[in-house]
Subunit: 516 residues, 2 copies
């Protein structure tokens, strides 16, 4: 790869690179403001900080969308057409991504962009308030505003992208190259199969003793020590990041130079929750840290491949590797020492495995088992589609949620906090995000199958806490490639198959109906 | 006062206000980046963060210095001349300050500005490294670069401001309205009088028993609790700020919405150091928090009056109030409880007073007593003047420092860390700053005399920990006025006298040769 500060044969492209580098700097500044906002900022700075963040994004918008940039893009495209062999694969992809970023931003005016940035940053606080007070009215007010803005944005995106519909247009933000009809097919297959698998597994497990619950006092510092050690064992670079707690929901984010992961404050009654969160964010974190840095810092081609791929990285760690028997064999004896609980039956490896693979439908997405998880996503996917395409009113949300959840999983939420208020996504305007979890889960299973072939002695490595080769495989094959390829291209090259739900179904059958 | 978003009769001025508000937002973002840089950022983000900060200041420069702003300023000035009665005192001052900011920035090109911003942020790290390794060579390399840039800046400022010389031009950045010849006069008077006072006080104190040293184990959390409580008792608003520790030197700064004070990590052998630092930063903090906020947020007239006035606020708290007998009467019994040291002779009020008023020349500015402090400043003032005006070479700095220090105070530094490396100021390009401490000390004494007249029962209030009325007096008479007045105007109005060293001399004679 050529260094980004080297001149490209096309002057216009060299200038574009310099402009996108500067935009990247402003975005990195925005990440710092956001992280500080959540972890360190005094409460009273709230309003002024929101305005600062909104203003920063307005500037980014102005820097990206103007006649200069438009002309530079046209010149660069002309150059590429005239001299294709002067354009490396990376520069080609970088220009393509520049164009995408440019059009995405040009669709949305400054006002709308600033409004959106403000809503997103307010959303976390409003969500927290609504959750804590179990108050649907706070939520309704905020979500009504969000939905209004998101529909306007979706409208613009739909037209520009020739999308199948409003929701399809938003979906593409998180899973570039996906289409709603494709996702419907995948989810249809999963629904069909998992409606059968779920009761089979519940039935199989009902013959067993219930696992011993993890219910002791687990000091917060001990939990955080273990969480940080796990990050370290996977090769997370603490020189360029760290793990923090906050009263808010977890957030990933940051840049390859500054990857601060944030999980929800540790629950001293249950170390599994914070560990789950830490492993999940770890997957996001190593993705961010593994993105191209030295030569392509801040360039669009050096960004991640979108939310679906990002979630796949989180799920490979959290669900694939982090729920193997071998992982618990590694973990269990160390937990006994850490928590001063010698031979505690709750901490036995097979008991922890039983807890983490116990399939039992519930109301909480984040605590859901690996099979019913899909239905939580399906529920949200259908609801957000209906909301965005105006087939449903915000007022009906709690009722519809409860009904559909019951239809799918046979459980009823006790209150709004347990139901429609549990996720922060809609509050921060992430309509179209939820499918990324299941698509990520699918891809995680697809990658996991390939990792088992590629990495010698993978299970004994896991049992020994030798996780770095797993991270290296992910970095080499995915992280370091930035956005050069589309998700389909990359998966086809790597695994010989486009994204498909078959890998996930095979994985779930194997883990839940296999020898376990 | 009119709200800042209200239209002024002059359209150009309304537009200027909006532009300066946006610049203020970017500056506030810069403050957050700087605070995060010092307190939370992972080490590995160092280089990229420096580039982000430098880039941000380049943007500020571009926003301020351009033909649009120039034209708007001219239009606003024309309007004010034509319709002076449409211009309130605040708007008049705001326009004047806009002009000042504009000319200050227009003197210095983008490149130089970016270079300067980068050096300043690197400076803290280089200073820390030089200190820790007692390595003059690290310092020399960095200071040579700084001096080169500062001389270029001083040259431009000197010409534009018609200053008396290079150093005078820099001095005015920190003490607007001061001149070098004025400062020379003040310092000459102080030198003359304090050369006499210092040995008298040393002589008087030599007849006494030395105070019992504070030398126990004082847990860091207990110290920080007390430091925070003191902030609270003075009315520091923790909703809009806080107190933090760092491995670096202390920094004040922030905005009225987000005033995070940073002191050097607590020394568990001596609580007086961290308390001194906390009281000092508290003075800065209440100044920042007391600046006009609601109606004038981000406008130039709502800024502080410069470093000299800022230091006066720190010194009123730290040196005037914080070294009264009454302050220690309040503090002492609480310290006994806090540190589990009942009737500890070291913690007795009169012993603490004796420690904090003990006059004994040493090498360390920050640990200096209230009288020899002046000579530390005089030393630095003369050296930096010589450096900036090329009467001295960087190479000679350690030697000259040691010689002059000995001439003034009769002590020799043992090494460079104890001498020329002890202050961060030159490393972060603050040439011309040091006189602000002594000018601040002078003003603090001047204000302190007036406070004793204005605030009923001030000493018994201090003895009871009832400090809020003192803060309120400072806020009403100084903080809330932003930059409407010059320092001389404000002091004349408030105390009936322009800044003068007489108040400081009277205070020192009273405290050190009086009944104590």
């Amino acid at each position: 790869m050529s260094r980004q500060d080297q001149e490209h044969a096309c002057k216009a492209y060299t200038e574009l690179k310099s402009r996108f580098r500067d935009v990247g700097r402003l975005e990195a500044i925005g990440e710092v403001l956001g992280r500080d906002f959540l972890t360190a900022m005094p409460e009273g700075a709230y309003k002024s900080r929101l305005a600062q963040i909104a203003y920063l994004y307005r500037r980014i918008q102005q820097d990206l969308v103007n006649k200069d940039v438009q002309r530079l893009i046209e010149d660069a495209q002309d150059h590429e057409e005239a001299y294709p062999n002067l354009w490396s694969r990376e520069n080609h992809a970088n220009l393509r991504e520049m164009v995408r970023v440019y059009y995405d931003h040009s669709l949305i005016g400054e006002e709308l962009m600033e409004h959106n940035a403000r809503i997103i940053n307010e959303g976390r606080r409003n969500h927290k308030a609504a959750m804590e007070r179990n108050d649907w009215h706070i939520a309704k007010r905020h979500l009504t505003e969000v939905l209004d803005v998101e529909k306007r944005i979706a409208e613009k995106k739909m037209r520009a992208r020739g999308a199948e519909g409003l929701y399809d247009a938003l979906l593409q933000d998180y899973c570039p190259g996906c289409s709603l009809s494709q996702v419907e097919k995948w989810f249809g297959k999963l629904e069909e199969e998992l409606r059968i698998l779920l009761p089979q597994v519940v039935d199989k497990q009902s013959g067993r003793m219930a696992p011993v619950p993890v219910a002791d006092f687990y000091p917060a510092e001990s939990q955080m020590w273990m969480n940080e050690e796990l990050l370290g064992l996977f090769g997370f670079d603490f020189e360029r990041g760290g793990l923090y707690q906050t009263g808010h929901n977890p957030v990933e984010g940051g840049t390859p130079d500054d990857t601060r992961l944030v999980i929800k404050s540790v629950d001293t009654d249950n170390f599994l929750d914070s560990m789950k969160s830490a492993l999940h964010e770890l997957g996001h974190g190593i993705y961010i840290q593994g993105l191209p840095r030295a030569k392509w810092r801040y360039q669009p081609v050096a960004k991640d491949m979108g939310a679906a791929m990002h979630e796949s990285q989180a799920m490979v760690i959290e669900m694939m590797i982090g729920r193997t028997r071998e992982f618990f064999n590694f973990l269990a004896p160390r937990l006994e020492g850490l928590f001063h609980a010698m031979n505690d039956p709750a901490l036995r490896a097979d008991n922890l495995y039983a807890i983490k693979t116990r399939v039992r439908p519930g109301t909480d997405r984040k605590k859901a088992d690996e099979i019913s998880y899909f239905f939580h996503i399906l529920l949200r996917f259908r609801i957000e589609k209906d909301l965005i395409e105006s087939r449903m009113n915000i007022e009906d949300l709690p009722k519809v949620w409860a009904e559909r959840l019951h239809d799918m999983l046979g459980v009823f939420p006790e209150n709004d906090a347990e139901a429609v208020l549990q996720d922060v996504h809609w509050f921060v305007a992430k309509f179209g995000y939820f499918p990324s979890y299941t698509i990520g889960h699918m891809i995680a299973a697809q990658l996991w199958e390939k990792m088992q072939t590629d990495i010698p002695k993978i299970f004994s490595r896991i049992e020994e806490g030798d996780f770095v080769p797993l991270t290296q495989w992910l970095t080499k094959n995915i992280h370091a490639k930035g956005r050069i390829y589309s998700m389909s291209e990359l998966l086809n090259d790597l695994t010989g198959s486009a994204p498909s739900p078959d890998f996930l179904l095979a994985h779930l059958e194997n883990r839940y109906l296999g020898d376990g």
